[in-house]
Amino acid sequence: MSIAPTDGGRGGDKPSGVNTALEEVSRWKEVEERRLVSKVHEIDDEEVRVQDAITELQRQLENLGAIRGEIEVKKDAVPREAARRMHQAVLMGLKDDAALLKQCSEAYGRALSARETRIAAQMSRPGVLEKLEAVERFEEVQEDLMSRIPGLYRLALIDRHEAIKEELRTVIDALSDDASPIDSNLGEVTLIASEDVHVDTGRVEAVAIVLPIPFGVSKWRDWSEDLRSVIAYRVVGAISSALTQINADNAEIQYVSYPKENDGLFAVQVWLGDSDVDGDFSKSFETEIEKLCDCASELQIASINLKVSWQHPEVVAPGDLEED
């Protein structure tokens, strides 16, 4: 059977519907493949960009890590640097106090000399010493003597005694007056102190106290007694007293130069490690210093107050710190 063309013999010019559909698919395929290939290239490009960004960020992270490390090192070094700076501040403060105390000591010496001159001038007057001795002797026996003599004589004796005292008034005033107070321009003198505490027991093993006074005072035969040496004696006395109060009167005491050079300052080291300590040295010592500030005449004349500043041992004597 033959199949007749439906278009009267012109049917070969028109593509069949199937072919058209297939061509459509084929075109779509090409377009889609091109589009997707392009997309893939875009993703490739994006991946490269992201990878570059990751590399950059990674580099930044590494940089940050390095910076963090440097900062950590610096942070760890802060306490030590602070101790170093505090040590320098302590040295500077002690040096300044020492210079002021030297001036003050000279002024104190002049005030004492002036008092000595006043007294010597009064005492050199003829008969003054004998009369003073008589007045004092009379006052010692007055009560007992008065009870044993008649009233008339008693009044006469008292009148005579008062007359002699009045005659000696300027002498008595000169002797009674202490040296005139000086304007020390100093006010407060700081003693730097530190306690070494045993790591395991927590007990104080050693104490160091630095005075703003030259170490030369310890060579007392070569040092003229002055305000500074007297302060050194008093502080040593206060240390001894504080040690006795805490049952540590067997503690070793050493005088050392601070810093260690020969021309350093006067420092006292106390070793408590072999003592059966019963109490707090720092409290006892501070109490002793307060007591001496209240009563020591030379401190009153010089208008000086001693103050104890407790510092960490690392501040006072840094281990391997290099001096500036």
Partner: protein, 164 residues
Amino acid sequence: MSVLRSSERMSFRDLASRLELSPFELARAMGKSEGLPSILRFGEADVDRIRVRVGLTEWWPNGLIPVEDHVKGRALVRSLAQKLSAFQREGGASTRADNLFRGLEGEEQLLVRRAVNLFHQNGLIDRLSRTDGLYVSVDTLQVSSLEQIAAGTAFPENIQKLWA
């Protein structure tokens, strides 16, 4: 304080010298006992009072050497041993080391200082460190050795070198 006392001139260092101490030794001794007074000026009356207060005793009053011996050094060593054994027998617990040669001067004092060191080396006396200075004590077990030295019957070899 009397006004006359105010005219007294003895400084803290002068007082220390009178007591044959350094001012720092005196400060430590006074800090341990009565403390330092408010005014550091002293008179004659203070010297003996403080001497007693801080435990200074003269072991050789007027420089007298109690044991007679024709060799001076040996006389000093025997006397020292006698004084130490008597000190222990009389109940003395410890005394300042510098008391042991107080009252002597010059070479005699030097020899007794050396003898004190040798007595310690030979275990005849013990040394005790205190806030106010060095102290010594005599062990009961050493009294007989000290008495032998005092009697002149037995001397440790190194001590004999003191008068050799």
